[in-house]
Amino acid sequence: MTKLMEWVFVLSLFFAAYIAIVTKQIQSDVFDNWMFEVKVAPVILVLLFGVYAASTVLYRVFTFNDCPEAAEELQRQIKEAREDLMSRGFRFIESN
């Protein structure tokens, strides 16, 4: 089953249950008492997921490591490499 089909499958199960409840195919006092909440549930779930997604992504953006030490180490090693290579007879092609 492709990922798309997994999503379609789960969503159709959800909406089948949803429509059955809203159109009162399934009778229950619980659903009658909470009909409004049940009706807006999909919108609420989408909004909640949106909040979760936005906060997760933003949290990860702000905690993304900047690694300045890695850049410094690389700059040092570039210098070291150039000197070592030139001492072995390597000629760099200067640009610009």
Binding site: D66, A70, A71, A81, F92
Partner: protein, 275 residues
């Protein structure tokens, strides 16, 4: 087939041979694993296009770290007819380090990443292949860590990740980080690939695994990396991850524009619908 095995086991137990057979197989396994460990050869594929400034540095770093870890390796440089003289640089490096370590496999024109890997694999003598960018964004100091993890867990693929542990990126502004994290979140949600860095291109593969994956992949450019990992999940290959620091291009331009984002979205949906 199963009854036969049971029969053999009963036989050996009955004769008291079970212990001897077991010990012999065990010691044979040990000998074999020690032998293969020392015989592993790592082929590093470096596809280049206009990397005359970066190539000597990356090769120097590779030699430094791989010699330090006493590994058998070869560096395969696949230059796509760079107009800036990258191939001349590669030839000079070959003179310094020798033809065993530096292998040149230039091509006539700019033919893309996927075919560069195929071209490289064809000429690789190693049983493991390491792919990385030649623009110094991937540091060779992580390669011994990749190899250690591969050996420890007997993995098919080890991939570098910018998103876990001490991993990270140098030289990205807020917008770039946001796009990266957002794209990563979306692809994790839709594809669930068992890998935190889908678009990373610093990886170690078993040679046959890479061959299989490349032959199955259809996308081009950097989304190719994403497809490789998704196909790996499909084929149940085992994947390990090592946190890496990614230093964005020191020389030259880094690219992320509207077309890259569009390409990414298109391929994400394609993989979502087909895998």
């Amino acid at each position: 087939m199963i009854p036969e095995i049971i029969f053999v086991n009963k036989q050996t137990e009955f004769l008291g041979w079970k212990y001897i057979v077991k010990t012999l197989t065990k010691s044979f396994d040990v000998v074999r694993s020690v032998k293969t460990m020392s015989q592993n050869i790592y082929s590093i594929l470096l596809p280049t296009f206009n990397e005359k400034d970066n190539l000597p540095i990356i090769v120097w770093l590779l030699v430094k770290y791989l010699d330090q870890s006493q590994l058998n390796y070869e560096i395969i440089i696949i230059d796509d007819a760079s107009p800036d003289g990258t191939l001349d640089v590669a030839k000079q490096l070959q003179k310094i380090y020798g033809e065993k370590k530096i292998v040149l496999r230039p091509r006539e024109a700019k033919l893309g990443l996927g075919t560069a890997y195929i071209h490289g694999i064809k000429h690789a003598s190693g049983n493991f292949i390491i792919i990385m960018d030649a623009d110094l964004s991937h540091h060779p100091k992580f390669i011994p860590e990749f190899i250690e993890l591969q050996k420890k867990e007997n993995l098919d693929i080890v991939t570098g990740t910018r998103y876990l542990g001490d991993g990270g990126v140098f030289g990205w502004d807020f917008k770039r980080k946001l796009v990266s994290r957002g794209a990563n979140f979306l692809s994790q949600l839709l594809l669930r690939p068992n890998c935190s860095d889908l678009t990373g291109s610093f990886r170690l593969y078993r040679k046959d695994v890479l061959q299989e994956l490349v032959s199955r992949c259809v996308s081009k450019g950097y989304v190719f990396q994403m497809e490789m990992i998704v196909r790996a999940r499909e084929l149940n290959y085992t994947i390990g991850e090592i946190p890496i620091t990614f230093v964005d291009r020191v020389y030259g331009q880094s690219k992320l524009g509207g077309t890259e984002i569009f390409q990414f979205a298109k391929n994400l949906l394609y993989l979502f619908a087909t895998t």
